[in-house]
Amino acid sequence: MSNPAPIELVCPAGGLPALKAAIDNGADCVYAGFKDDTNARNFNGLNFDDNTLREGIRYAHERRAKVLIALNTYPQTENWARWTAAVDKAADFGVDAVILADIGLMDYARRAHPDLRLHLSVQGSATSYEAINFYRERYGIQRAVLPRVLSLAQVEQVVKNTPVEIEVFGFGGLCVMVEGRCALSAYATGTSPNCNGACSPGKAVRWEQTPQGMETRLAGILIDRFADGERAGYPTLCKGRFEVEDATYYAIEEPTSLNTLELLPQLMAMGIRAIKIEGRQRSPAYVAQVTKVWREAIDSCQKDAAHFTPKAAWMAELNKVSEGQSHTLGAYNRPWK
């Protein structure tokens, strides 16, 4: 493993304090969204208005960091103008790239702002080089974010067969489903990640202490029940315990976070250009902590990939902020599938 390609650390900025925390702790890029359903983290109290965006871009650019704006939900005909206005705004404010999923919006962005750099969002569900090359040839995308479904060998196959820069998720909440291909939340709650930019929304959540234990519900549906002493997690639909063929278990996935720190040398060697940290809905303290660990790890790996091992202290820090205080390699490790 010699001369690994430079790899960018892309960190979440749910607001201005998180943006500053990311950049202060060594993020090369931050990604952010506007305060509406044009992005896939459309949560109350998150995201940027004109003032915070201007300040965030100034703060980032003065420190040679980049600001990427996620406009990665699917516009509908009746609200189309709001998505194109969001693209215009991002371009006018001088962001470094926009992250898009809908080809209609990509086509608009390319025509209206030919110099604006386009990234393909994970919400575009592109898992093969054929799909990624499609977006490059048609809309000139320069980077693609891979859904969290490919094994390491499959990721490498993609990288080898496309000139598009590949960005992968390194750490954070784990979507088990192919992003952009999941309507579970829409089915249960009416809130669609694809169209409304949120999954398992807080407004549909109910916590109830019952004689059987703490119950968590989503739109009335029992997602999980916790015995005394068990830590009750947020009822994300795919991370509950259900009954299947006479067994009660996490039928889809445990509450756990993705952590690929130990794969860094391999990711670098295969030419991955950016590592994304999930968590725009998390606190600035989370962003600071995770960014700091990953910055150190990337620098250490870039210096000497052959002798890189994740420090126990890094893993402990990351586990502290992981869902369920545990982590997984997810699909990168084939047996997970």
Partner: protein, 288 residues
């Protein structure tokens, strides 16, 4: 409006599959979509077997379309996709953008499948320019989204709506059927063949919620837009899609055929129709 049968999302034994399509040839479908769209490991029917079924159905007067796999992971998935595109006779339903790229490069007309996420007229127009002659609305979209897309629909493009069956809600790389039996995907023993309508997921209150079908997750409830047929017709839908189920498809097809012909038709069951009405998908909206 025409009646179509979508690709079978479940995994059935070879003979059962062949028997099923022999029956489909006699049912009042105008179009039939064929092929394995969920999992590349499934092999009861090989590519050439699917082509045989296609030829038989075409001989029975059905318009046949071959559907592509929705989640492409490996080089062998891509090889299978290229073979499908090069079948030389039947149109292909593209279920991810890699298929669109290959079809458009060869200047072949195609059907834009439901997982391409067409939610607006601009996107449909671009796909039409690439060769899409038909689009299938994502099931999570409803009549308002449809009206929006159709207001700006390019001429000559047909609209198809998923109108009956367990709703395909999500795809993963993980096989949830194998997971239930503590098997790894690569050595899954093809457990999903034992669950011809999927494996039921209940809440801990025994409420039927979802079904697991290998790497796919579907609704436990059956989506049913039979009563909404007049609304679909008024909205400008050209094709109404039913999804294969293990038992009783003939009755369902008959009811939909009668409804399309303007006759009275009814089906009894635990149905949902929320998505069409802009509500959570699992809801049942009594007719408006």
């Amino acid at each position: 409006m025409k009646l179509s049968l979508g690709p079978n999302l479940f995994y059935w034994p070879r003979q059962a599959t062949l028997d099923f399509y022999a029956e489909v040839a006699t049912l009042p479908f105008d179009l039939v979509y064929l092929g394995e769209t969920v999992c590349s490991r499934r092999h009861e029917l090989r590519a050439e077997d699917w082509l045989d079924v296609a030829v038989q159905l075409a001989g029975a007067g059905k318009e046949v379309v071959l559907s592509s796999q929705a989640l492409i992971e490996s080089e062998s998935d891509l090889k299978a996709l290229r073979r499908l595109v090069d079948n030389g006779r039947f149109a292909v339903e593209a279920n991810e953008m890699g298929a669109v790229r290959i079809l458009a490069e060869k200047k072949l007309p195609f059907v834009a499948g439901m997982s391409l996420n067409v939610f607006n007229a601009h996107t449909l127009g671009l796909l039409a320019d690439m060769g899409a002659t038909r689009w299938v609305m994502p099931p999570e979209a409803g009549r308002e989204t449809l009206a929006g897309v159709l207001a700006g629909k390019p001429p000559g493009v047909q609209t198809e709506v998923f109108a009956y069956g367990r709703l395909p809600l999500a795809w993963s790389a993980r096989c949830f059927t194998a997971r239930r039996f503590n098997l790894q995907k690569d050595t899954c023993e093809f457990k999903c063949v034992e669950f011809p309508d999927g494996m039921l997921v209940k809440t801990r209150e025994h409420e039927e919620f979802l079904v697991l079908n290998g790497v796919q997750t579907l609704s436990a409830k059956t989506y049913n837009l039979l009563r909404e047929i007049p609304q679909l017709a008024a909205a400008g839908v050209d094709i109404v899609r039913l999804s294969p189920q293990w038992q009783g498809l003939a009755d369902v097809a008959g009811a939909f055929r009668r409804a399309l012909d303007g006759e009275a038709a009814q089906l009894a069951g635990d149905y949902c129709n929320g998505f069409w009405h802009g509500k959570p998908g699992l809801e049942l909206v009594e007719n408006t």
